[in-house]
């Protein structure tokens, strides 16, 4: 029986009522009396020396409040990077200064050069057109391998070269790994590209800065996944505003997918300008601006090699990756190709030796950072493609080859520094096989052939690391932040609760699922629990939402705080019931004395806490409010097996996805409907990456896919009905809910199965195609067949 409330129930998403009826409160809905608007004059050149920015004519234009240029920010800090990677020689990465407005040089198309604050946006744009720019164009650095050549043009003149870092992992394993390749019975090699993507959340970025002269308090309203982190980074490193004088609010946010984690120049600008102009200052990104100013995702070029022994056991894995950083280091950029990628290269397999080399490269392109999955999709794609290729080369069943090499004993310490606590990869593969009717595939292929189409089946596994992350561990790995989470549970006198969580919901449905957890623990109706997030003035210091960490880390903090509430409430109940505390039981929202019919309702206890007439004041304080901070002891490791069936039109190269099945192990599940929705969304993005999305620059650093005319987003009719299962559950062993996280799995797990399926289809027609780089657009598939 499905539950109708609490943990395990598919409660309807309460936040959707306001989202779907147009009464949400997004940042762009916030308009402050007296606000001015800013328009950023952005570089249309990828690389150039700024000789002068002449604002004299523009400043006199109608409505102009003030015009800012790079010179106005010389005394202001650099946009900081939150992660410092140490390279294979023990040296720290090269870290360029990242100005709020370009100074000296422009380094990518879209970089803001000047900012016009005016009464209206149109007036600001008019004035921006009157700014005279004198910029000498320099050769653009676009291709990563060219960027590393001797004598290449430098993106940053004050750095040694364009190499951010050269990372080796695990360096101590390198010699043994190389040796294993010498001894291998078979080596499969694959060169591939993990295509560059633009996140494209439905809501573009917005920032509104406000300043109260009377109290010297700054407020920033922003489309962020983690307002506290923005407060810390912007306050401490850029603008020098102490945290107690800076409030950051991220209200309803319409999708983030990673690109709203980072601290951006526009946020710092609006906060700074609100004080400088003594006016609230608002910026709303246009979609065109978003393409050239939101951090992009992925953009890895990799060579991967897999060594196998004569019995087809994986003996070693070796990779060489070039990872594009873009022109500057976005907040978490250095961590994505390293610690979020290299540590996942074992995948689901017991490969004993792994060596990963990553060269991070500066280019004259938009900064690249985490995008749904962040590092794990890159790892999964390489690994699951090379395993598939190996199976084809060896003439063995790709599923059997995977199964043969599965990790089966847990906990399992990988050779890439992480320990999987639990999992059952055969179970998810069994489940998948039961969903996809593999036996019927031959008949379906024959049917497709009758219609002149090629049919292919692709399977892959994945594992990912979620619930990021143990602070002490990430500290050693270069994180400049802790990655705990916080929650305050405030019980009101009449029994309702407000939970202030440091996690942030930007579409994930926390207001529903978090309430289910607390309501379940107390045994009350979900509607008695309100979830508050996204405001540093209300919520204790939190680290926000990314890396599928909300329930695993934020939810755990909430559970801990609720446990404290329950413990205190039991003390109050024991006093009211004149029984010993140890005998008090909480069930269905009532405290009872074990073995008796004496009980007191939740609401009577909460009332007693705030009207403490009959109350153990000598033992406990009045009130019922508790805070907990939770720092996980390990990552969580969701895993699964995915299958994709495609039809390829051999005349046009067009790929259609006929069937897609996902069997995931997310540990325990709080709201199955929300989990299904998260998987659906992830699959849409993963399939979008595999078939459609292609962020592409020309050799001059001009973005070719700078609008929806050329950047193909997945649409409903590009996708099949998904068959999604999450009944395989090996609960996480180290968080109180036993949950693992489900937000990114779909995007991580789906691209390889799509490409595997297309390769399968083409090979079935005798085509000698072993790989096609994503996106598998019709022209690429057709070209591969010629």
């Amino acid at each position: 029986m499905p539950k109708d409330g609490g943990i395990g129930a598919s409660s309807k998403r309460r936040e959707d009522v306001r989202f779907l009826t147009g009464v949400g409160n997004y940042t762009d809905d916030i308009n402050i009396h007296g606000q001015a608007h800013v328009f950023f004059l952005r570089s249309d050149m990828a690389h150039g020396t700024i000789n002068s920015v002449d604002t004299s004519a523009a400043s006199g234009m109608p409505g102009v409040v003030q015009i800012f240029t790079g010179a106005d920010f010389e005394a202001v800090g650099s946009i900081p990077c939150g992660w410092q990677v140490t390279d294979k020689h023990g040296e720290v990465m090269q870290e360029p200064r990242h100005p709020v407005l370009a100074h000296g040089k422009v380094r990518h198309v879209g970089e803001p050069i000047a900012a016009v604050v005016a009464e209206t946006l149109e007036q600001a744009r008019d004035a921006a057109e009157a700014i005279k720019l004198d910029i000498s164009e320099l050769p653009a650095v676009v291709d990563m391998k060219d960027a590393l050549k001797e004598g290449a043009t430098k993106v940053h003149d004050d750095l040694n070269n364009n190499l951010c870092y050269d990372w080796g992992f695990v360096e101590e394993n390198k010699a043994a790994t190389d040796k294993a390749f010498e001894d291998a019975a078979h080596v499969t090699t694959l060169e591939l590209v993990n295509n560059r993507l633009v996140a494209n959340p439905m809501e573009p970025r917005v920032a509104v800065g406000d300043y109260a002269r009377g109290t010297d308090e700054h407020t920033l309203y922003t489309t962020s996944q983690n307002p506290h982190v923005i407060r810390l980074l912007m306050g401490a490193f850029v603008l020098g505003i102490p945290e107690h004088k800076l409030r950051v609010v991220a209200p309803d946010v319409g999708g983030g997918f990673g690109t709203k984690i980072f601290h951006y120049q526009e946020e710092a600008f609006c906060t700074f300008a609100a004080k400088a102009c003594n006016r609230p200052v608002k910026w709303t990104s246009s979609r065109s601006e978003a393409f050239v100013s939101d951090a992009h995702g992925r953009d890895h070029v990799t060579k991967i090699e897999l060594a196998l022994d004569a019995d087809n056991n994986f003996t070693a894995l070796r990779t060489e990756t070039h990872a594009n950083m873009g022109a500057y280091l976005s907040t978490f950029a250095p961590s994505v190709p390293t610690w979020l990628h290299g540590t996942l290269m074992a995948g689901n397999y017991k490969t004993p030796l792994i060596y990963v080399n990553v060269k991070a490269v500066f280019t004259n392109t938009v900064p690249v950072d985490a995008y749904r999955g962040a590092g794990r999709p890159e790892a999964t794609f390489q690994l699951e493609r090379v395993v598939d290729k190996a199976a084809r080369e060896l003439g063995v069943d790709p599923v059997a080859l995977r199964r043969q090499n599965f990790i089966t004993e847990f906990p399992y310490a990988t050779p890439v520094a992480v320990e999987y606590d639990t999992g059952d990869y055969h179970a998810t593969m069994d489940k998948l096989e039961s969903m996809i009717d593999r036996d019927g595939f031959a008949a379906r292929r024959a049917e497709s052939e009758k219609n002149g189409k090629l049919r292919g089946l692709g399977v892959n596994c994945y594992i990912e690391a979620c619930g990021i992350a143990p602070s002490n561990l990430v500290g050693q790995l270069g994180a400049r932040a802790g990655l705990y989470e916080s929650a305050t549970v405030r019980v009101n006198a009449t029994g309702g609760l407000v939970v202030m969580t440091g996690s942030h919901s930007h579409g994930q449905g926390h207001e529903t699922s978090f309430a289910q957890v607390v309501a379940d623990m107390i045994g009350i109706d979900e509607n008695m629990v309100e979830i508050v997030h996204g405001d540093t003035s209300k919520v204790p210091m939190g680290m926000g939402t990314y890396g599928s960490r909300s329930l695993a880390v934020g939810g755990s903090a909430m559970v801990r705080a609720t446990e404290k509430i329950i413990n205190k409430a039991k003390k109050i109940a024991s006093h009211l019931l004149e029984a010993s505390e140890g005998d008090i039981e909480l069930k269905d929202g009532a405290f009872s004395v074990a073995g008796t019919d004496k009980s007191v309702a939740w609401g009577d206890v909460t009332l007693a806490a705030y009207v403490p007439h009959n109350y153990p004041l000598e033992d406990i304080e009045p009130g019922l409010e508790e805070t907990a901070f939770y720092d996980p002891s390990n990552f969580t490791y969701p895993s699964g097996a995915y299958a994709c069936e495609v039809e390829v039109d051999p005349d046009t190269g067009k790929v259609t996805i006929e069937r897609f099945a996902a069997a995931d192990d997310f540990g325990n599940i709080v709201n199955p409907m929300i989990v299904t929705g998260q998987v659906h969304g992830g699959l849409a993005q993963g399939i979008g990456q595999a078939l459609l999305e292609n962020c592409s620059y020309d050799e001059n650093g001009q973005l070719l896919s700078a609008s929806y005319m050329d950047y193909a987003m997945p649409r409903a009719d590009d996708l099949p009905m998904f068959d999604v299962d999450h009944s395989c559950q090996t609960p996480c062993t180290h968080n109180p809910l036993g949950v693992k996280g489900c937000g990114e799995a779909g995007a991580i797990g789906s691209p390889p199965s799509v490409v595997n399926a297309v390769v399968d289809a083409l090979q079935s027609a005798g085509k000698d195609v072993t790989h096609i780089d994503m996106p598998l657009s019709p022209d690429r598939v057709w070209a591969a067949m010629q």
């Binding site: 057109e129 929806y708 005319m709 050329d710 193909a712 657009s777 019709p778 022209d779």
Partner: protein, 262 residues
């Protein structure tokens, strides 16, 4: 967007007069022009909306049996009401999305002559007549390369007349992002011969494929096209496909159009 004046005349004559003002521009459904204005890529002094001109609205049948479409008729109306020319109605039904179809107009599409637009292929393959406020222009003379037509400054497309073919079909292979035609082929068979017009492919905009027309006029069957091909040299090469790929698609889509029409 820059500021502009806005006129909403009710007759063609008033519209023509209004377009006489310096830098005045006609506004059809705005599906091309408004995004251009928003990007500040155009700065007309006056926009003259053609929407309220009754004589430019709707689909009717001419005395010679041709389908006549008012120049300000939107795509959704053509899709719904041009049933006497099913291939044309179908073409209109697959332009853009519902919002685009409910605003975008045939006159706007033909005036704009986007190299990837659908109507130019339909008009050229049908040997349509483009009627303006001052003259009638044969489709063969009207399309003059990417975004270029025979229209004079201030001239308005008031009507488009399509002779109805015996058989016809439009095959659109969509560009994955914009869903305009990466290659679109309109084939129309008339009693005096077959016309094949291709959009999306050429650097010179919509064009007729003479060899295919000759072959199909002799034998209106997909096999008639065997061995025929176009060169990719002068074809558009971009993120979504090389010239060679487009040339290949021209052949595939023409065959499919013939198969679907036959």
């Amino acid at each position: 967007m820059y500021n502009f004046e806005f006129e909403k005349p009710e007759t063609v004559a008033d519209a023509v007069a209004a377009l006489g003002a310096e830098d005045a521009q006609a506004l059809g459904g705005g599906q091309t022009l408004i995004p251009t204005l928003k990007q500040r890529l155009a700065s007309p002094s006056t926009l003259v909306s053609l929407k309220n001109i009754a004589e430019m609205q709707g689909v009717c049948k001419g005395d010679d049996g041709s389908i006549c479409i008012g120049g300000a008729t939107n795509h959704a109306t053509v899709a719904a009401e041009a049933g006497d020319y099913p291939a044309l109605a179908e073409t209109a039904a697959h332009i853009g999305d519902p919002a685009v179809r409910n605003r975008g107009t045939i006159g706007g599409s033909l005036a704009n002559n986007d190299p990837s637009a659908c109507y130019p292929a339909a008009a050229l393959a049908s040997g349509a007549t483009i009627v303006t406020n001052s003259r009638e222009i044969a489709a063969d003379d009207y399309f003059q390369g990417m975004f270029t037509t025979a229209l004079e400054e201030g001239e308005i497309v008031t009507e488009v007349r399509f002779p109805v073919p015996e058989k016809a079909n439009y095959q659109k292979f969509v560009q994955p992002a914009s869903r305009f035609a990466l290659v679109g082929v309109f084939v129309a068979k008339y009693s005096d011969g077959v016309r094949v017009a291709i959009t999306g492919a050429s650097n010179d905009g919509v064009f007729r494929w003479a060899e295919a027309e000759a072959a199909l006029s002799a034998n209106f069957a997909p096999e008639a096209l065997d061995g025929l091909s176009l060169s990719g040299d002068d074809m558009i090469s971009d993120l979504h496909g090389t010239g060679a790929y487009r040339a290949h698609l021209c052949g595939v889509m023409t065959k499919r159009a013939v198969a679907a029409a036959a």
